[in-house]
Amino acid sequence: MASIARKNLFEDIPRFLVAQAGIMFAVSLVTIQVGILDGFTRSTTRLIEQSDADLWIASKEMLQLEITLPMPLQRLIQAREVEGVDHAEAVISRNSLWLDANGKIVPIRIWGFNPTGRLFSNWSMSKGTPTALKEAYTFITDRSNLNALNIKQVGETGKIVPLKAKLVGLSEYTQSMASSTSIYASLESANAFTSGLGSSLNCTINSGDVDCKNPLSTADIQLSEPQPQPRRLNLVDPISYVLVQAKPDQDLQVLKQRLEAKLPNTRAYTKEEMASITRSYWRERTGIGFILGLGAAVGVIVGIVVVSQILYSSVSDHLKEFGTLKAMGASDWVIYGVITEQALWMAILGYIPSMALCWGLGAWTVAAKGIVILITPTTAIAVFGLTVFMCVGSALIAIQKVTHVDPAIVFKA
């Protein structure tokens, strides 16, 4: 009975197209919501996943990648002495403010690391290399951040209050969608960029008037040219993480325990643990998972409504023919088969262009907005399952109608 389903479907092309548009809307909405959720959560762990560290050592209070307490640089030295550690590097993560050319303040997150190291900055670069950060007061940012920082290209400068900073490179796929604009600098520059931020005003009293200079304000700030070389970090300077590369064949769980025993008030995490803690923080502690899930649910509901409506009207139009089949002696299953097949065709023909659309949209948002809509194979398969479920589920409503059709209607002219 294959041809009835397909031919009924294509009989009324405008109606078919409306149905497909509805299905595409539903499928795309679901895919994009899930894709954004995946892209979002994945983006929060990009720095972790792209690092070459086997272990991340953090203060034991750490909540997620960007929320942790500092520990002294001494921990780095201590970690290097632990048996089984091949190599260790320090990472600083702090908040600061960027002052763009128009004097607009942009909150930023500064990541300090060793530019000649090999554990942190294993990203792909669209311009420059991390080693350029050896020059003082330089930084790299993700190329998707140029607009946010209001700069156009490598070589331009701005202020990381109160210091002048020069952009020397652009990285790719490093920006977390959940956090403020991230910039990457050497440990020394990062330390300097973030230690000048006082809460004090420089005020003088002049014949009863208080005259204040705010170090944050462009108008008031006087940059001493040239800026003094940033100082080297010493043992008590605060850092955020120690990244560890283990010796070959070293059991990471054993090494974790050894490190935690040797380094007071710390915990060590494997790369995967660190990523999973951060991901679940964003998924669970924020409303984003719920909101995107709600959007996806709306998509499914719209899809079910549209598909049922279309199938129902298509079945109603052919009620007499279905009644004829019943009068001729077709079992109900033959008719269910026809309607279900029609629903499956709608599912397949709605799914394929939707996926193409989502891929295209994803490519565009990455290029234009730095927003990744991540469509994993799992998502693609799950969405297909959902589409089929949606269409066949809608068919049940239409099947209801046919089941109750009185075959005696066939004799009505």
Partner: protein, 260 residues
């Protein structure tokens, strides 16, 4: 093989029964075996009322009807007299309020819904006033669907559909959609479909009512041929008095009663 066995075999062949029909279920009533064997349709005391709320309107008030095998029976009567209702009951589509209907020796009024479906599929071809063709399917495909439903394999169904359309004189319209066919041609496609897998009974409701006199004539001629050439039993509900020329018997339905 003993002589008596041979005789039994002959007997079975002569009664036009396949052995399976005989064994499938007890016959209509003991003693009427021989009678119902020669009669394709036997209806006894068929009554039908339609209930709506507390009211019930009696439409058929005790119909007795017998149609011998291979004959064309016409059912005529004024509009609203219950002809279509009676046809639906005789075809096992409607269940009468009371009475029994026996088709080809099987009492269909005792069958379950599923058994009825299977019986109709196997034994009855339908022709409707409104043709009831799938508009999205070509002439051949409309016939093919019926053949496929009856369990005929795809390639064979395709071939048989062509043969049937040729039989009704539509071999040059095989791939036309119903909307590209005239009313008479559509009805001929419907007749080809009704003939699918060679049913023993044909039930037609006003087969010529939607047709002009010329195509009506072609359809009438076709109905006559298919009854006479193949020994099918044909029951036709109609207002069309031209059909009286081809009919073996005519019954009038009036006031819920049959008048011959």
């Amino acid at each position: 093989m003993t002589a008596s066995q041979i005789n039994i075999n002959k007997l079975i062949q002569h009664t036009e029964y396949t052995a399976s029909t005989v064994q499938e279920r007890p016959l209509y009533a003991s003693g009427t075996w021989e009678r119902s064997g020669k009669r394709a349709v036997v209806a006894k005391g068929v009554k039908m009322e339609f209930r709506s709320g507390a009211d019930s309107t009696p439409i058929l008030q005790g119909i007795d009807l017998e149609i011998p095998r291979g004959e064309i029976q016409l059912l005529m009567g004024p509009s609203g007299s219950g002809k279509t209702t009676l046809l639906s009951i005789l075809a096992g589509i409607l269940t009468p309020t009371s009475g029994t209907v026996c088709l080809l020796g099987e009492e269909i009024t005792r069958m379950s819904k599923d058994e009825l479906s299977r019986f109709r599929l196997k034994n009855i071809g339908f022709i409707f006033q409104g043709f009831n063709l799938f508009p999205a399917l070509t002439a051949a495909e409309n016939v093919e669907v019926a053949l496929r439903m009856k369990g005929i394999r795809k390639n064979e169904a395709r071939k048989q559909a062509k043969d049937l359309l040729m039989e009704v004189g539509l071999d040059n319209r095989i791939n036309h959609l119903p909307r590209d066919l005239s009313g008479g041609q559509k009805q001929r496609v419907a007749i080809a479909r009704a003939l699918a897998d060679n049913p023993k009974l044909i039930m037609a409701d006003e087969p010529t009512a939607s047709l002009d006199s010329h195509s009506g004539h072609a359809v009438i001629e076709l109905l006559r041929k298919l009854a006479k050439d193949n020994g099918r039993t044909v029951l036709i509900v109609t207002h069309d008095s031209r059909l009286m020329d081809v009919a073996d018997r005519v019954a009038y339905l009036e006031d819920g009663q049959l008048k011959n």
